[in-house]
Amino acid sequence: MAVTAPAPVRRHIENLERVWAERPGVLGWLTTVDHKKIGLLYFWTTLVFFAAGGIEALLMRTQLATANEDVVGPETFDQLMTMHGVTMIFFFIIPMTTGAFGNYLVPLMIGARDMAFPRLNALSYWIFLGAGLFMYSSFLIHQAPNAGWFDYVPLALRRYDGGLNIDFYALGLIFNSVATTLGALNLTVTIFKLRAPGMSWNRMPLFCFAMLATSLALIFALPALTADCIFLELQRKLGFHFFDTAYGGDPLLWQHLFWIFAHPEVYIIVLPAFGIATSIIPTFARHRMIAFPLVAMAELLVAFIGFGVWAHHMFATGLTSTTLVFFAAASMMVVVPSTIQIYAWLMTVNIGTPQFRAPLMFIGGFILFFVIGGLSGIMFAAIPFDQATTDTYFVVAHFHFIIFGAAVFPLLGGIYYWFPKVTGRMYDERLAQVSFWLTFVGTTLTFFPMHIVGLLGMTRRVYTYDHGLGWDAYNLVETIGGYILAAGLFTIAFNVVRSYRRGLPVGRDPFHGGTLEWTTTSPPPPYNFPVIPTVTSAYPNWDEPDRAEDLRKLERGDLVLDEAHETPESTVNDAVPSAIAEMPPESPWPVIVAATVTIAFFLLLTEHYASAGLAFMLTLLAAAGWNAHEPEEGVG
């Protein structure tokens, strides 16, 4: 564009390039506040955690491949099992969806130049990294968390689990909650306040609705987990009493608070996947989403109902039957918004003219797995069935269909779908199709036999089993499936790395997508859009007159905002511009603040409370340093 563009356009672009330039090199990555660079940092970091969690899973599957296997001992198995769950949920899916996809895509989809709070965004990444390193450092001293990702008391109390294992778990999750909360807060305010002029709620992409529902669920769910972990640490470290009946506590308190967080958490995990599905389907079906407002409301409703169903994880704990019936009914209610979405996806593909390229293939796999996992999930709402299958592999099968089949498949499709946008190159379609079939077959082989073996009585979390129980063949198939799945995931990684170097260059919009990220160049410039786009429908990239008008605006200098580091703020409902926000420049303080917090958490772990206090003082000083240089907007 810059070569043939008329002089005023060139001048605006040059101004924008200058104003939004960041330091290059490694130092630039440490101090960046660009949502796209932070999104990429999140992406690669969470991929490393994904690989770690995957290796843990493969080790477990190898141990369980045949009866009386002796690959890892029981103690190591407990640590692998716990860390697999903790890693996949807290250090892979949540940061991958909100941190990587949300961060990179939400500002681009709503026509903003960055997140609402760019430095806070960097801080959430660095704190997330610190929390991940904190959690994984436990393996160095062979004291990784070992009481399951749900960490039930009394097993997790000091009396029964005397090492640092559970302290790593509780402190690590409190630490990580800070990062996740800040990220969710940032996404919420970005979606509220930075939408492009004209993007009222009814024109906001469904992906952003899903991210909003996820963020709000995180905002209201995480405090329960944080409080629970604070109670646990106070009891373990300082001798407080919350969970022991002898002093007036109650062990079920842990389970209530944990599941008040962890059931909404299931929807937190799967909602971004819905969002990705609603982005990929219209593009490859060449048709806008059917029942757009219903799907938007269903996304929010899923997050809302998710708060009222936690006790269905506790049907076998001896709650009163009135309580059980209430929670069973609430659990069945979740079917309604979920089904609305499934029908909307299927009908959109049915009405449109679908092209089955890799991203849409993964969405197909996702819908199938989501239906299977949803149907087995509804079975648990029947209280007697739940009580019969509690703590068997049937449960493991169900939730892996949901959190691997339904939550991760769209992520994999999303990686292919937005790969050209992020890199400016096309992935290898044939290899992508191969990777789809490998992961699809692998997932089915790994998780489907778990239903059967669960009904045959195999309990969860066992590190080995005997011959002659009728479980051997199923377990072997599951392990083989696990390795096929790993091969599929490896193929995706190989495709991404190779295409990044050798893929064919693509233009701004290889798939003819409908949302705003496809209107800008691939990869997007640091300022995202030369002109802040004005939006008149939910699929603005398909509104050609509007986009032509954007180019004319660029010539006129309308809504270009190239004089300073700025992005417009708008009103929450109608997205009418309300102010011009000056965005902060790159800053070293987020990484410094995160470093002091990391030090403080290690000191808390080792019970150096006074030193930890000093480290938190340093955090405050760093926060003051952060604010010493503030955006000045010259009113007074």
């Binding site: 909360t181 807060l185 306040k193 995480l222 308190l253 905002l561 708008s570 511009p577 000045e632």
Partner: protein, 192 residues
């Protein structure tokens, strides 16, 4: 194109919204703590445990009344910055700060006493009460730091960024004051 030529509608800034969302998550944390107190209360026949005296009420009530009254000063400061009146805002903050500080120091002193008298290591009741009060005081510490920061900042200049900061701080204080009243109600609930 600058802000002056844009069709601007008056609305709360993103910084204010950030504080609203932050307060939402903190309020949920307190909801969880109060919920825990009530949950355990109904698991126990004696709450507080029979041999313990009930917690003090008069001093916390008077202190909380003083703290809640600073919401007026914070409101004045918030209105003043949105009208661009730096000195008036500064004065309001300077009135609020000493009251908040006295509240905090007094409460922390009593908090240390309370820990020694009721010993969280001896009962779940004392554990949850100490945690609840500790969390509340921690939020007051943050509020005091915020007020002090803006007393410093507004002594020189008022910018839009700082104005949004003062409005967000005022909102934070209103929320902390409501939370403090709720915590007080929990503290005096054994008398109800």
């Amino acid at each position: 194109m600058t802000a002056a030529t844009l069709p601007v509608r008056r609305a709360y800034a993103k910084g204010w919204w950030g504080m609203v969302v932050f307060v939402a998550t903190e309020a949920t944390l307190f909801g969880t703590l109060v919920g825990t107190y009530l949950y355990l209360r109904f698991q126990n026949a004696h709450w507080p445990p029979a041999q313990l005296a009930k917690p003090p009420v008069l001093t916390p009530m008077l202190l909380t009344a003083a703290l809640v009254s600073t919401s007026i000063a914070m409101h004045v400061a918030s209105r003043a910055v949105s009208d661009g009146r730096r000195v008036r805002a500064w004065r309001a903050l300077a009135v609020a700060l000493p009251v908040q500080l006295v509240y905090l120091v007094w409460q922390l002193h009593d908090f240390v006493d309370l820990i020694h008298v009721y010993r969280p290591q001896a009962s779940a009741w004392a554990s949850v009460l100490v945690t609840l009060l500790g969390a509340d005081h921690a939020h007051v510490v943050v509020g005091v730091l915020l007020t002090a920061w803006f007393v410093l900042r507004l002594s020189t200049r008022l910018t839009r960024y700082r104005a949004v900061g003062v409005q967000a701080t005022a909102f934070y204080w209103h929320a902390v004051n409501v939370i403090t009243v709720v915590v007080l109600v929990v503290q005096v609930s054994p008398y109800l």
